[in-house]
Amino acid sequence: MGNVWGFLTRTRRGNGRMDWTDWVTYSYLFLGIFVMFAPVIWLAMSSFKTEAELSRFPPRFLPYAQETMAVDGYDEPLALFDIQSGEHAGKTLAQIRRVGLVAQMVDPANPSEKLRVDVADREPLEKLSFAWENYTELFERFNFLRFFWNSTFITVMATLIMVLVNAMAAFALSKYKFRGQTGVLMLVVGTLMVPQTVILVPLFLVTKELGMLNSLWGVIVPGAATPTGVFLLRQYMITIPDEIIDAARMDKASEWKIFWRIIIPLSAPAIAVLSILAIMWRWNDFLWPLIVLNQSEKFTLQLALNSFHGEMQTQWNNLLAMTVLTLLPIATVFMFLQKYIATGIASTGGK
């Protein structure tokens, strides 16, 4: 038991040699790749499959399509099959058409002679084929750049406002003593209790009264104050030693300066996390923009993505392609921001 905790909590001794705890660590990480990441890779692969290939089971990892060949005397390319058994076993034939259980086929080497083959005897010949049209169709169907801009604008503005407003509130709730402090914090946490689905309609009515429908600000402002953000930052800020602030006050720094120059930089890990979350929430948000925005020139990428859900059918091929496209920007942002969650920024004595 002790050894397990050892490898979890230890800071590396710096001798560069892999001991067994490293092996356990890396085993866990590679298990993580398999369980957490492999499905995502599969998703990316699937975005290159045709709708028919997606419906197929058992599902396959790589996208395949049937191989075809132009044969003399036929306008359309013909589908190729390997013949497994029967009279023509071992050959590769092109199929002209199939009637019931019999296929009419032709040997590409000898296109004049038509052959009859039992359907049970043939296996389709397949090759790797990426359905790029899943992606290109997106650009034909949507005003992609406009949606991208809308999404970006909403995400950037909302994240900036959210981080600032939440950090201010968290500062007040962690570093000041005033009456009603606990009450305010309880109220903030309390708002988490009602599921978002439930307040959607009342929130819509409020937003409408404020005249913010069909405007990107109608998406940005209502979500700017999140209880999660306040709570998260507040809990981080209470671990920042009060002595640092007292020292700054001695130096006659204004409260705003303490907030801006000391608290914010010291909270960098938590702010990085909140930014990642805020960006993700805004970028992926769909329920709220869907009800606030009803004109397509204001639409976001997520609305476009979800428009592939029809009544009876979902166009999974396009939807997955769109998912991959919308995933790339936030994945990049994540890789960038996660660096700020680095070890050992704070230490006991201040900077």
Binding site: W42, M168, L173, T343
Partner: protein, 322 residues
């Protein structure tokens, strides 16, 4: 960008300084709180209050002014039970099935979620190779939409899916996972842990940064056992962040809906119907839309959550007060 930001901040400093002199340092807290509270007031408290009023009305009209006031009737409809433990004796049997499903779901999900994300955060906090990549690996599922999460795992778990193919490949028998209530429930818990674990891992990761490195170095000097270091140093210093994770995991666990709904639709039968799905289908997706009943159910849900959270905070009073 940064210089623009810092000049804005310098401009903001002028009125803030004025207010500081006017109000004194501790009352300045309200100024820091004001923007948040105003936004909360308008876009969160007000809608919640309106929802509470909806809970007292009936009918299927959308606008409050068209709806008849029915007092506590919606609450009585939900609470009309012979025996609360047996949904079949209740008038709103689906509601109570959902309630009990949710209770079990939360117990399992929160346990696995907090345990696994703590383990993952501790590992990812070490000096490992390709740390950024591995952090992304564990965070990636959080970025996926619930519908896509459900789709991926359906591919894996359907009758002709990947898992059965693997099982049959090694000589075992496949199983109709999605037709078996117990398995469907278990996989729903797994799916929701899979989809959200990265979120809590990330929060814990930030919390671990608040632990000064020299404390560990001191412990190392004292040859304290690693388990002891974890108990005596890591856990107490991580406690404030741990509280965030516990509270959020509990609240969000109770509110789980999207991914499980897209995954099983609440089935087989009502084996994985959770309470927010009940609310959604009663008030929004169903026909007729019974906003009143749905709001009443969410008020009851909120009440239970407030009690649970208050208990959690009381138990962790030290980390709450800093």
């Amino acid at each position: 960008m940064l210089s623009v930001l810092s000049s804005i901040m310098r401009i903001v400093e002028i009125p803030m300084l004025f207010l500081q002199h006017k109000l004194g340092i501790n009352r300045l807290a309200w100024v820091f709180l004001a923007p948040n509270l105003i936004l909360f007031g308008v876009f969160t408290f007000l809608p919640i209050f309106i929802s509470a009023v909806y809970a007292l009305t009936g009918g299927d009209k959308i606008l409050l002014e068209d709806r008849p006031f029915v007092g506590m009737q919606n609450f009585r409809t939900l609470g009309d039970c012979g025996n609360f433990l047996d949904p079949d004796t209740c008038r709103s049997d689906f509601f109570w099935r959902a309630v009990w499903n949710t209770v079990w779901f939360v117990i399992l999900q929160v346990g696995f979620m907090v345990g696994l994300s703590l383990l993952t955060a501790l590992i990812l906090n070490q000096k490992i190779r390709a740390r950024g990549f591995f952090r992304a690996v564990f965070f990636f599922p959080v970025l996926l939409s619930p519908v896509v999460v459900a789709l991926i795992w359906k591919w894996v778990l359907q009758k002709h899916g990947v898992l059965n193919a693997v099982l049959e490949g090694v000589g075992l028998e496949g199983h109709s996972w999605m037709l078996d209530s117990t398995w469907a429930f278990g996989w729903s818990v797994f799916l929701s842990v899979w989809a959200h674990m990265g979120f809590y891992t990330l929060i814990l990761l930030s919390g671990l940064q608040a632990i000064p490195r020299d404390v560990y170095e001191a412990a190392l000097m004292d040859r304290a056992s690693p388990w002891r270091t974890f108990r005596r140093i890591t856990m107490p210093l991580l406690a404030p962040t741990m509280l965030v994770v516990l509270v959020l995991a509990l609240i969000k666990g109770v509110q789980t809906f999207d991914e499980v709904f897209a995954f099983t639709g609440g089935g087989p039968g009502s084996a994985t119907t959770l309470i927010v799905q009940y609310i959604y289908q009663t008030g929004f997706a169903g026909a007729p839309r019974l906003f009143g009943l749905a709001s009443a159910a969410s008020m009851m849900l909120a009440f239970v959550l407030i009690v649970l959270t208050a208990l959690q905070m009381r138990a962790n009073r030290r980390s709450f007060n800093g």
